[in-house]
Amino acid sequence: MSEQQMIHLIIKRQDGPDGQPYHEEFKIPYRPNMNIISALMEIQRNPVNAAGKTVSPVIWESNCLEEVCGACSMVINGRPRQACTALIDKLEQPIRVEPMGTFPVVRDLSIDRGRMFDALKKVKAWVPIDGTYDLGPGPKLPETERQWRYELSKCMTCGVCLEACPNVNSKSNFIGPFAVGQVNLFNTHPTGAMNKEERLEALISDGGLQECGNSQNCVQACPKGIPLTTAIANMNREATKFMFKKWLSF
């Protein structure tokens, strides 16, 4: 056997929400089929940096480990993506791992994606069905519509589209491409469509749909392959119709 192969990681760390960010290097023993999460777990077991100093272990968030929960999003070698599907064998070393800077950093790689949930509340991304009596089954959905909605429904609120978008930053109040896709999803639901104008009103309020600059990075970056730019153009069309309808109806 040859000598133990090592994985070289450069991690951008921060000790707390107000802490100064700094970079720390780690060299950890290679095992086959590792991903970024298992590399971080290795650091957790033996929190010694490349200089041989024992440090506090690196903090991160993860849940499902199969790219469906969106919790472990981080910037790996410059690309925002999920750490669980970032396989060490497929990454160029040294591997640079950073938190997604679009969001407030809680500590190290753990970020607060709360703004995304605020955005979903703002655009009312749900179907209100509660009543005082049984409303019966909803209308049926055409198969083509179902397929389209299925694509949109894959959003896991991971935040990668916000990190990729040049118009989501500290100077802008854009709520992000994902929220546009969610309005499209709920406005094409036969029952959800009953409230579609409420969602459109919210979507074209400040920080909404109009902030899109068509760089189309979101559709490139989305780990779930959601047709976000098609959803954006769809909602642009709806917003155009809505705008004229509103003007001419008063």
Partner: protein, 225 residues
Amino acid sequence: MSSQRSFFNRRIHSLLGVIPVGFFLLEHFYTNYKANESAQSFIDGVEWLWGIPFLLVLEIFFIFLPLMYHGIYGLYIAFQAKPNTNQFGTFRNYMFVLQRITGVITLIFVVWHVWDTRIRVVGLSEHSLDVAKNMAIEQALRLQSPVFLTIFIIGIIAAVFHFCNGMWSFLVSWGITVGPRAQKVSTYVWMVAFVLISFVGIKAALAFNDPSFIDEVQKITAAQH
């Protein structure tokens, strides 16, 4: 409910970029291209335009104010973006950045160009027919210099790029080209338009660069006196 002001501002910005600003760009190239035919043809074109009634009102409300709105609000939009082409080196992301860069170049060029040709030469007073010849000569003399010719060509290419790529995003922003295929076809259509319109614009500038143009204008002036 929060305000929808930014939505309306963005839509007005988008619309004004096409009508009247984009339309004016095309008309401007069309008139200037006549200089290739003959100096007389160009001067006739200018004089026809100056014969339009209520010209100053039209210029202020259909060119100057929309252009200023589009330019100033555009600067606000451009400087709000945080370009990331090093992370995402895709075609559309480069177009996004170029749209903002060419917008700024075009605004600087147009402000100088309006001052240089319209305000400095003609002033805000009534147009007179002699002024058309003066302006033609002044611009032709200016374009003899390779430095000014280069500045004009950069300005023309930036303006045409901004117009054509802007038309692409106009079609997306108003929900006309929705799907990826439609947007791709639109990309090709506007690429061809970019080449053709740039050709017309540059060819017009080169007509003024031709020394024989000055002789022709002087001959017309001499014939009248």
